[in-house]
Symmetry: C2
Subunit: 378 residues, 2 copies
C-alpha cells in the first residue's frame, strides 16, 4: 500500500516551510490533510498572522523535483498511508505540546533495506558523545546481545555511545538504524562516513529533513524524539547532566516507552544522567543485554503472581503439633504457658508448634494469647 502521490508531494512541500516537528503543522495536517493545508496556506498570503517568508518559500518549493532527485540516489520518502509507515510515531500526536517541536513528522526520508514498519520491537541505545571506555564497552556488549536476538538497534550515529551501539549491533549480526539530524545523504560526523554507508547498505539511515539539509543544533534535539518514538524501548548508557541523550530519555518517558539506564561508578560524571533517571523512577536499572530483553519482552505484559495459600488438613499435622492444637481451648484465648501445661509439653517445643500452627491458620495469636484459627475450627 502506498499513499496517494499528491499527499506525498504536499508533505514534501510542507516540510520545506520551516523546521521539522512543528506541532501546529502536525495538528493542521491531521485535521485537514497535507494537500488542503498547502492550498489553504497558499491562499492565505493576504491574511494577518502568516509568517512573511512562507509565501516566498512556497514560490521556490519543488517537491516533485525533490522526490525525483532522492529516488535517483536510492532515497525514499515514507509517509502515513504507506504500508511501511511506522504507526508508533503517532504517539507523538498526543505527547507533544504547543511549546516544543514534538509533532509527528510529515514523513521520513530513508536510505537502506530495513523497512520502517519493522521497527516496532527495536531498541534505542543512546548516550554521551564524550563517553568513557566503560560506557562504550557496555553499549557495544548490550547492542551485540540484543541484535543477536533479532532486535534492531536504533541510535544517532554520533561519536561515543551511539557509534559503539551501531558497531555492537553489527558485530551481533543484527540490523541497525541511524536517525540523523541532517539529510540522509550528509554523513555526520564525517568520521562516520563508512559506518553510515554500511548502515545504508545493510540497515537504514533515516531523517525527517530533506536530503542535503545541514544538521543544525536545533535539529539534533528534534531528531531525538524520533529515536524515542520509533523504538519500543530506550537505553541510556552514559550521559552527563546536560547530555542530549537525556532529551531522548525524556521523550521515551513522555511516550510511555520502556526507559532503561545503565549504572556506573558514582565518581563518573558520565553516569550521573543514568543514575538520575533511575533515582527519579523514570528509568529502570539494567546491567546486561539479558535484562534489556526481559524488560522489552515484558512490555505490556502483567506478570501477576497469585499468592499461593498453603492449606494443610489436620491429618498431616505432626504428632506434637496435633497435641498442642488439642490443648488450645475452643472458646477463649490461652497463654503459651497454659497450653504447654495442658499438653504436658515444654514451653520451647510448644512455641515452635504454635508458630507452625499459626502459619497454617490452625491457631491465631491475639493480645491475650492463642485461640483456634479458621483451619483449627474446621
Amino acid at each position: 500500500m502506498t499513499a496517494a502521490e499528491p499527499e506525498r508531494i504536499a508533505r514534501v512541500a510542507l516540510s520545506r516551510l520551516g523546521e521539522p516537528g512543528d506541532p501546529r503543522i502536525a495538528a493542521l495536517v491531521a485535521e485537514m490533510g497535507a494537500v488542503r493545508l498547502l492550498e489553504a496556506l497558499s491562499d492565505e498570503r493576504d491574511l494577518e498572522g502568516v509568517h512573511t517568508d512562507i509565501a516566498g518559500r512556497l514560490a521556490v518549493n519543488d517537491p516533485v523535483g525533490d522526490l525525483e532527485r532522492a529516488a535517483a540516489r536510492g532515497i525514499r520518502f515514507v509517509v502515513p498511508g504507506d504500508s511501511e509507515w511506522p504507526g508508533q510515531l503517532h504517539d507523538l500526536d498526543r505527547a507533544g505540546t504547543v511549546h516544543d517541536r514534538g509533532g509527528t513528522p510529515l514523513g521520513l526520508w530513508v536510505r537502506g533495506p530495513v523497512a520502517l514498519d519493522d521497527l516496532g520491537d527495536s531498541l534505542a541505545v543512546v548516550g554521551s558523545r564524550s563517553s568513557t571506555a566503560y560506557g562504550e564497552a557496555v553499549a557495544r556488549g548490550v547492542a551485540a546481545d540484543v541484535a543477536g536476538h533479532g532486535i534492531t538497534v536504533i541510535s544517532g550515529a554520533a561519536f561515543g555511545i551511539d557509534q559503539a551501539a551501531h558497531r555492537g549491533a553489527v558485530a551481533g549480526g543484527g540490523p541497525t538504524v541511524a536517525v540523523l539530524a541532517g539529510g540522509v545523504d550528509r554523513p555526520y560526523p564525517v568520521a562516520h562516513t563508512r559506518l553510515l554507508e554500511h548502515l545504508a547498505e545493510h540497515g537504514a539511515v533515516i531523517s525527517e529533513v530533506p536530503p542535503g539539509s545541514a544538521p543544525t543544533r536545533v535539529r539534533f534535539l528534534i531528531r531525538n524524539r524520533l529515536i524515542a518514538a520509533l523504538a519500543r524501548g530506550t537505553l541510556v548508557v552514559e550521559a552527563a547532566h546536560r547530555s542530549g541523550a537525556l532529551s531522548t530519555a525524556r521523550w521515551a518517558e513522555r511516550l510511555t516507552r520502556t526507559l532503561m539506564a545503565v549504572p556506573g561508578p558514582v565518581t563518573s560524571i558520565q553516569s550521573a544522567g543514568p543514575h538520575d533517571l533511575v533515582r527519579s523512577g523514570a528509568a529502570q536499572l539494567v546491567t546486561s543485554g539479558a535484562e534489556v530483553l526481559e524488560l522489552m519482552g515484558a512490555a505490556g505484559t502483567h506478570l501477576l503472581v497469585e499468592p499461593r495459600v498453603e492449606t494443610r488438613v489436620r491429618d498431616v499435622l505432626r504428632p506434637r503439633e496435633a497435641r498442642v492444637l488439642d490443648a488450645v481451648p475452643v472458646s477463649r484465648a490461652a497463654s503459651t504457658a497454659s497450653i504447654a501445661r495442658a499438653a504436658g509439653l515444654g514451653l520451647v517445643g510448644v512455641q515452635t508448634a504454635l508458630g507452625f500452627l499459626a502459619r497454617d491458620g490452625f491457631v491465631e495469636r491475639l493480645e491475650d494469647g492463642w485461640r483456634l484459627g479458621p483451619q483449627g475450627r474446621a
Copy 2:
C-alpha cells in the same frame, strides 16, 4: 530509668541457653517476662520436648557473675525497661518468622559512650569484605558526609566496606558504632583491634552475645538483623551475589527501613548485589551522602505536591488569542480552518493561539474540531 535487676539477670541467664535471636524465646519473654520464663523452664525438666541440654546449661549459669565481671571491664547489659533501650528493636517482634533467628534480642552488651537510644537516626553502611578500592572510597566518603551532619554510622567492623564506613565516620567527626557477632571484648577481625578500641572509647561496640563469646558463622548472620533494626536506614555499598551484606539488606526491607544501594560498574561483581536491590525495587539508588541524607530525612514524610492548576482570566489573553477565542462558536465544534476564516487570521497563527487557549482551558479539542472549554464559557 533502669529495668528491674531480676529481669536483667534472668535475661542474661536466658541468653546463655542457646544461640541468640530465637523467635520462640523472644515471644515467650514478651508473653511471660524473662523471670517467669526462666522459672518455668527450670520446672520443666521432666516434661517431654525440653532440649536435653537446657537443664545442664541452667545449672552452670551464673548471670550475676556475668554482669559483675562485665561491669568491671566497662561493659553494660542494656535491656528493655532501661531508658537507654533502643525501642526500634521491637520491630523485630513482627518481622521474624518461626523459621529464622529474627527475634528481638534479650539485651545488648555495650562498650562505649554512645547511648543506644540515640541511634534512632543512624545509618547502617554495609558491604562486601572483598570490596574494591572504588567501593571503599564511596563508603568512606558517604560515611564522612553523613557523620558530618550528626548521623551515627553503624557497621560490623569487618574488612572492606565495614571498616571504610567506620573510618569515614571518624574522619567526618561523627560517632560510629560497631555491632559484633562475638563478644564486645573479642576484637574481630584481630587486625581491627585498634579500630575497635577507638570505637569503644568514642562510639560504641555492641553485641547480643555475652562477653567472651566467639564469633561464629551463624552469629554473623544473626547479628546482621541488629544492624538493620537499630538504624533508620541501611546503605549497601558493594556486595557480590552471596554477600552477607545482602542479608542485612533483606532485614532492612522486612523491617521497612529505608534501604539504599550504591551503583557501580556493571562489569564489577561487587556491584551486582546493589544493582539487584535497585532492579527489584527493594533499594533506592544513591550516589552521594547528600542523597542519603535526603532519603533519611524524608523517611515517614510524605511529600505530596498538589498539581497546581494555572487559571488565567480572559482579561490577560493576548489580543490574537482573544480574537481567536471570539471566533470559536458557542454552540458547536469548529475546524481550525473555519475558526481562522472567522477570525481573519492565518492558520499557523490560529493553531498557535488555540494551543495556548487549550492549555489554559479556554477551548477543548474534540474529534470534530474545537469548542469552548470551561474557562471559555465562564
